[in-house]
């Protein structure tokens, strides 16, 4: 089963992620313009982009545990997933700025005054250095520092999950499940992940 999935994953080129992820906001835009997003298309677009971005962040965090715990190797997709997550967060932010809030002075007021927006914004800002250094040259150039720098994804994912929980009205399971997944995936790392090979040797 895992072997079959690994074989399959080897055949899928990485550019597929960039293609689908790159087209996604434009697909939503088209849906929004043609009535496919319901009667409040700006909000629907904003939510869809934010939720997809969070799903990709969680998927990115799951790649190492998946490899070590069940032997599923998706590591070649990780950069694509991370960069696409950044691109969707950027689109989410633009939809919020241009289609939702619209007024520049209110945007600044919101960022400073509203904690869930402050948290979301901080998450976005922390993603910028990660997106900039997501290329082979930076990986070589930064060496060990690159690995340290990219641990920022942990913080970014927590902020993303928290942002979702904080904007919910009433007690809602969905955002809590997202935040819970992030916390779980980070706790697995904290405990240290025994790899499949070490376990089979033992």
């Amino acid at each position: 089963m895992i072997d079959a999935l690994n074989t399959y994953a080897r055949k899928v080129p990485v550019w597929v992620i960039y293609l689908i992820g790159g087209a996604y906001p434009f697909w939503l835009l088209w849906l929004g313009l043609s009535g496919g997003l319901g009667v409040d298309p700006a909000k629907a677009m904003e939510h869809a982009l934010g939720e997809r971005a969070l799903q990709l962040l969680i998927l990115g965090l799951a790649i190492t545990p998946l490899r070590k715990l069940v032997g599923l190797n998706l590591i070649k997709f990780r950069r694509g997933i991370g960069v696409t997550a950044f691109y969707l967060v950027l689109s989410h932010l633009l939809v919020w700025l241009v289609l939702d809030v619209q007024l520049l002075d209110q945007i600044w007021a919101d960022i400073l005054k509203r904690p869930y927006i402050t948290i979301g914004m901080l998450g976005f800002v922390l993603m910028i250095p990660l997106a900039i250094t997501s290329n082979n040259w930076s990986v070589r150039r930064l060496g060990k520092q690159w690995r340290v720098l990219h641990k920022l994804t942990y913080g970014v994912s927590l902020l993303g999950g928290l942002h979702f929980v904080m904007l919910a009205k009433g007690f809602q399971w969905e955002p809590l499940l997202y935040l819970g997944s992030v916390v779980l995936l980070l706790m697995i790392r904290l405990k240290g992940i025994p790899s499949v090979r070490t376990r089979s040797r033992a």
Partner: protein
């Protein structure tokens, strides 16, 4: 007694469904009680074009059927609305179980086109059919000692799937001060666009208080209690810092998590411009006197 408050648009003008969709309406939301002025009407004309039937019935907050805007439209068909009984008790002369059909037989249904402003900063214009709450309260005979009215929504988790989750402390409860409840703008809606109100909009009867945020307009009411104490309200119990008892629409008092200065009118499409939110949702002339001398920041 019906027709205490008048739109400057006659009922015969607005009943056919397609007319709503095609014609700009002249409705004096800011006009006085029964003193609708043409000037006020014209200034508001383009803004008070009612939303389409489709918009009104597909985009709802009714957490008893789920927290998504489309959930009520998807799940509310499971709700049985007939037979329906409203218990009216507390400080009334004639407490008891009032059958919905009996209430309808005693009431005069009229048309009210109101702005509807959600606390989440979106809004619609909705052509309700219903009767004034005052007429129903008069039917039961409000006693002098009563100062508040408490309302309760049906609790039936086998039909209201959202009640299986603890999103709020069910059943949903709301309340009004007696003078707010007796105000001629305060409506019990039983229809939209001349049709029976759909389940997702609060069938068979719901409150509509157009100068307050939408969550005050409690749906699918089964109980009305007259009392002398301010009754608890669901959102206030869940998050008291964000949702007060009064919850009057007020562009100057922000929700802690977002601004209330502007709103998105549903139906404008992807690039719709935000519009300014009006004090008391445009009904300032009619209701501001109810709150004279009150600090509206404190009593949010």
């Amino acid at each position: 007694m019906a027709h205490r408050w008048k739109n400057n648009l006659t009922r015969s003008d607005v009943t056919p469904h397609d007319i709503y969709l095609n014609r700009r309406q002249l409705l004096g939301g800011a006009a006085g009680l029964g003193l609708a002025t043409l000037a006020g009407g014209k200034a508001q004309a383009s803004e008070l074009e009612p939303n389409s039937w489709e918009e009104i019935i597909s985009y709802n907050n009714f957490y008893e059927f789920g927290t998504g805007k489309g959930d009520p439209a998807q799940h509310a068909h499971r709700l049985t609305t007939s037979p329906w009984t409203v218990t009216i008790d507390g400080m009334v002369d004639r407490p008891g179980d009032y059958k919905f059909d009996e209430i309808m037989a005693a009431m005069t249904i009229e048309e009210r086109i109101y702005r509807f402003r959600c606390v989440e900063a979106w809004s619609m214009v909705i052509p309700w059919n219903g009767f004034e709450l005052k007429d129903l309260l008069d039917l039961a005979g409000v006693q002098e000692s009563a100062k508040y009215v408490a309302f309760e929504t049906l609790y039936r988790p086998e039909e209201m799937v959202g009640q299986r989750f603890g999103t709020l402390d069910w059943p949903y409860v709301e309340g009004l001060r007696l003078d707010e409840a007796m105000h001629p703008l305060t409506l019990m809606a039983t229809g939209i666009y001349g049709k029976t109100i759909p389940n997702q909009n609060g069938a068979p009867l719901r409150l509509v208080v157009p100068w307050k945020y939408g969550f005050k307009s409690i749906k699918s009411i089964v109980k009305i209690t007259l009392t002398d104490k301010q009754p608890p309200t669901s959102w206030n119990k869940a998050l008291g810092r964000e949702y007060g008892f009064y919850s009057n629409v007020n562009p100057e008092v922000d929700h802690p998590r977002w601004s209330q200065a502007t709103e998105r009118r549903i139906g404008g499409g992807l690039f719709a411009k935000r519009i300014p939110t009006l004090m008391f949702n445009g009904y300032e002339k009619e209701v501001a006197s109810l709150y004279e001398g009150m600090d509206l920041r404190r009593f949010y």
